[in-house]
Symmetry: C2
Subunit: 333 residues, 2 copies
DNA sequence: TTGTACGCGTTATCAA
DNA sequence: TTGATAACGCGTACAA
């Protein structure tokens, strides 16, 4: 049973409010009593109750983060950024992973509401629309990461990132460039795919739909894509993958079949995971300012919480950076 | 402003207690009123407050998990196991990462206490001792993962895992086997180191302290260890790493210097991360039953919460499994 | 400087 | 079957 403020009051022979004041460093209280009560509280192992506090204060000094997938290290970096900004404002961060499952995403958001978090950050939402103010189902501020269509969002410009990396491949002489997508579900709204198409168009390269193969954002998706690519009547010379995990799958599957990267195929990833610099070969990829993305999202959310001035907040976009390493090379002649 | 039970009561023209009963499916209530109130609650966007509920119920139906490091995918798998078991008992899981920082670990545990979680799981605690019942600083049950000395713990037998993998190296003919540890801080209580020493002893191989080099559990630690190994007057032929991340760092650093694995050195990891099967070369490693570890930890915690019968709970140990892949090979002659 | 009284949202108990 | 009341732990006006 936790010790309550009343227990301390009884023990100290004062009223509960005096204890409350002592513990919260209130102005009008004798230094002596304050000190002795603080000492007593510590000795008795007092731990304040967020439940009771939040009930009266109508705030819990905590924000909830619903992340796409715990297993993806990309989100770990994002979390570091969020926690840093939150800690600076003395907010506690609570995390849950919805594993790319729309139902779980909504369940987590609902749980955060039940816990009366002060605000929520959702990465890569699968149900973006439901958070639109029109619905009014949510009574706390929500910031989305990488959903640039949402009014309160912080995103990396994935269109630009994809364009940059495809142009890099084109500059290396590649003309038949395959793309492994995140999955069929996302095809229409894929910014990466748009960037890919734009880069081709800018360089007058004709688009061939057979070069687009569905992955799933994980290693397995990359592995499964390879036989489809190799079955094409005319092989690609380069593969632009949805992310680094996919690229690792692709390189692995190619190696299994006796191909070498970048000798036989250039392969590019996206994300610049820590692993990208240590894989063999090291990955050419797109670095997203992940840490900054996190701090920006947290700051936007805190702004929404504090001033409640939704008008003052506009969607933010950060620019990604091309990282050239060894998995891409000039096309073989 | 969230809608409260009172708001609904006013709107429905009944008392708050009736609303509470309707929402909680209590027995003695007219089906009609129950249905209409439930409908009204949904329409008004009612979301119950865990704060208020927990205050009176003295339980929040949630457990906190403090994990070692978000960036380590090992913990993602563990979380899946925990969440699965928790969900089966209708418990919510809340996660925080302490990034191997003892202070943050204690801060998180304290926060969980403030939130009046029903119990806590801590992975790889850096401050194991502080949770011993003797201290009595904690009023909620705590289960530790991979701290077999603690009375309420679920662990993989790391001693056995290390012994298995070192014996595998010995069988391949290796005699000078280096070990990259988790860090100097952990040397005395390293079960992996014990397993390593035991394997050597069982095969009458003399121990050479210079072969033990400190890492940090991350890629960087592996990278930094390599120059120290290469500076030894007599080179090792194999390296047993604290974990897969360290092994990746080691292999990478060796490759940078023109060495090839396993031609020049055999390198073994520990954990069997997803990546281990896809790295180049694929890693020989030790698979921990990570998912099962998670479910077991959650079940133990739930037992402690429910029956409060500490006597009925004993530390559990699961057996790890040797996974042989391409990063280890017979010693060169 | 300290104590008293009330309310936050909810549930449980008792009475109607 | 329903309503009134108290209680959970805490903060804060207001009174002393």
């Amino acid at each position: 049973m936790p010790v309550s403020i009343k227990d301390i009051a009884k023990e100290a022979g004062v009223s509960p409010s005096t204890v409350s004041r002592a513990l919260n460093d209130h102005p009008h209280i004798r230094d002596e009593t304050k000190a002795s009560i603080q000492r007593l509280a510590k000795a008795m192992g007092y731990v304040p109750s967020v439940l009771a506090r939040g009930l009266v204060a109508k705030r819990t000094a905590s924000i909830g983060v619903a992340i796409t997938d715990l297993a993806d290290p990309y989100y770990a970096r994002l979390m570091l950024g969020i926690e840093e900004a939150a800690a600076a404002h003395r907010y506690q961060v609570v995390l849950s992973s919805y594993c790319r499952d729309p139902d779980r995403e909504l369940a987590i958001v609902n749980d955060f509401q039940m816990r009366r978090m002060d605000g929520i950050i959702i990465t890569g939402s699968e149900t973006e629309e439901s958070y639109l103010p029109a619905g009014q189902k949510f009574f706390l501020p929500i910031v989305l990461v990488n959903r640039p269509g949402y009014p309160f969002s912080v995103s990396v410009d994935r269109f630009l990132g994809a364009r940059k990396i495809v142009e890099h491949l084109i500059e290396l002489g590649h003309r038949r460039i395959a793309h492994i997508s995140e999955g069929a579900r996302f095809r229409d709204k894929s910014r990466r795919l748009d960037g890919y198409l734009t880069a081709l168009e800018m360089h007058n390269i004709e688009f061939d739909g057979r070069l687009i193969v569905d992955g799933d954002g994980n290693i397995g998706g990359g592995i499964q894509a390879v036989p489809q690519l190799l079955a094409l009547p005319e092989l690609p010379t380069a593969v632009f993958c949805f992310n680094d995990m996919t690229a690792i799958g692709v390189i692995n599957a190619l190696r299994q079949r006796g191909y070498e990267v970048p000798r036989d195929f250039s392969v590019a990833g996206y994300d610049d995971l820590e692993m990208a610099a240590y894989y063999y070969p090291t990955l050419t990829t797109v670095r997203q300012q992940t840490h900054e993305l996190g701090t920006r999202a947290a700051k936007m959310l805190l702004k929404l919480i504090d001033i409640d001035g939704e008008d003052k907040v506009a969607p933010e976009v950060v620019e990604p950076q091309l990282i050239v390493r060894q998995s891409t090379a000039p096309v073989a002649v």
